[in-house]
Symmetry: C2
Subunit: 329 residues, 2 copies
């Protein structure tokens, strides 16, 4: 399902990260980075909630808006019952929609907001995502204190909160169109190789978007996937080339940009819903504002993994949603 927008813009963004992102190559583009994982809170979960509440305050300050100016708060994260979003929402006093699409949550949120803005139902929305490495590891795998070794195809969940104010008020970054993806069961059961799980969904959504918009792949200066990691990115490029016949020179992956994979002990790269949102809202928007990129397809990718279903030997479904961002004058 592809949507075309004439009246939707990103007005402002804000980003807060954890320590490893703050030591990474994109460090200077983030609004704030904490030097340790508790961030002054008692628990990792509460640290993630704190990042969200702080980050939304920051976004509203940067936008010269107050909470009552915001029509809808849309948010999701990786914690069970998306509590990093809901507990943040309980401090905001803004009508709230909770969403879950694993690491594809950021673009699901942008699509919901953009559809309501384009349709004239709302004027604006704050769309937020977060993830926290230690809280995620504890919930999905083992507490990090366990210190278990991991295979090279594993990714490192990004710690951070990324927010965007999206509205019908013109800015230089337009949300030009979007494609809502389908949930795909690729048959993969390897919980340590989410990149391969998601690559199939990413290829499907990219192809659907290009066909629906009747565009060549070269229309975009950059097609940026969410968190495939080194191995998933290579698989995506192979699939796009061999199965769909695309030239993939403009395809890159946020997971391979947010960290220095060779130096930072992050296995195959970053992951988590915050990964592509942090990279896009900081580094990529900066390149767009400098005129170095004009058209970017943001393709957040989610592995809808649940440890109970993995233990029941079910394969892991995946999904990808694409949002086209364009610089306008």
């Amino acid at each position: 399902m592809t949507f075309k927008y004439n009246n939707v813009y990103i007005n402002e963004v804000s980003t807060i990260t954890g320590p490893k992102e703050g030591e990474g190559p994109l460090s200077k583009f983030f609004d704030k980075s904490y030097s340790e994982y508790y961030m002054g809170s008692d628990t990792w979960e509460q640290a993630e909630i704190k990042m969200n509440t702080e980050n939304i305050d920051l976004l509203l300050n940067k936008s010269n808006k107050s909470k009552k100016d915001v029509d809808i708060f849309i948010s999701g994260d990786l914690l069970n019952q998306i509590v990093a979003s809901s507990y943040a929402a309980s401090t905001l006093n803004i009508p709230y929609m909770g969403i879950y699409s694993a690491c594809a949550t950021s673009t699901e949120g942008i699509i919901i907001a953009s559809n309501m803005i384009e349709g004239g139902l709302i004027n604006n929305s704050v769309v937020n995502v977060s993830s926290h490495n230690n809280a995620s590891e504890k919930q999905f795998r083992y507490p990090v204190e366990y210190g278990g070794p991991k295979p090279v195809t594993q990714t490192f969940t990004v710690t951070g909160s990324a927010s965007a104010l999206i509205s019908n008020k013109k800015s230089n970054i337009k949300v030009e169109s979007a494609t809502l993806g389908k949930c795909i069961d690729s048959g993969v059961k390897n919980v340590f190789d989410m990149g391969s799980v998601m690559a199939i969904a990413a290829a499907d959504t990219i192809d659907k978007h290009l066909k629906d918009t009747k565009r060549e792949i070269g229309y975009y200066d950059l097609i940026l996937t969410g968190d495939l990691g080194m191995y998933g990115k290579n698989l995506l490029k192979d699939v796009l080339k061999d199965e769909y016949g695309y030239d993939t020179r403009n395809v890159d992956d946020s997971a391979c940009m947010i960290y220095d994979i060779n130096k930072q002990s992050v296995y195959a790269g970053g992951s988590g819903p915050a990964c592509i949102a942090l990279v896009t809202y900081s580094y990529i928007l900066n390149l767009m504002r400098q005129g170095k990129l004009n058209r970017v397809l943001m393709v957040a990718t989610g592995a809808l993994m649940n440890p109970t279903m993995v233990n029941q030997k079910l394969s892991i479904p995946s999904i990808a949603h694409a949002v086209s961002l364009e610089v306008i004058s």
Copy 2:
């Protein structure tokens, strides 16, 4: 945030339940009820997935539609990472939005779909919710085999899947307006009294809806909350009367209707996202089609509870979203 719709209708609904709902007072209104909790699947989680896939097939059959006719599938449930929805979505080949608002998920889904239909972005959507008693108990509390006693304020999670086809094609049931609620921290930490947690959010959303639409409470033939249970329903009525000054004679609660509370060992009544959706899509729509109810405000209520946060001694946030349904000729 209140939305007014001129062009949104419920075209068809379908309902599948577990055994206790099939033995309850609304039994004859459901499309199908299983006589035991596994439903031919190996696990309770897979039984919930099966209910969803079967129920969506049933909905499409009743509607004379095929999967490719559906623009968007919107779904949520109580399982971690909403897997009952996502694994069902992976069999559908329909663009998918995962949502989470605990037991307020049904009306969040209707609002997202209605906004996109009213705005002209899509023509139709299948909106689905589910819950499964044994899968929920295992995840949020203890496996049912444990047989632990429960306090009287506890509710019994409904087993069922409830789907609606919503579109811009006129039918006799109009989605007339809706109010998206705010997430409210009521300060309650008692995980065995979710009804009291949610009553505050329900009162806030009902009041907001009536003020935004400039309606008296008597405008509605029925204001139906989601799953407050006996104690929560009484608290809601007290709050609406004492704090807001409303006459509450038309306020009732789905949790008190889906079971015979005196005979069925369900403590304070039903709960779960399927509770209000099953009651509305079966019994209430039947009364509306018979002309016995003309205007119904469906107020799904969610306690955004997470065992990890409860163990960390945080209070439980809650939310309620309201949808106004009207019979039209």
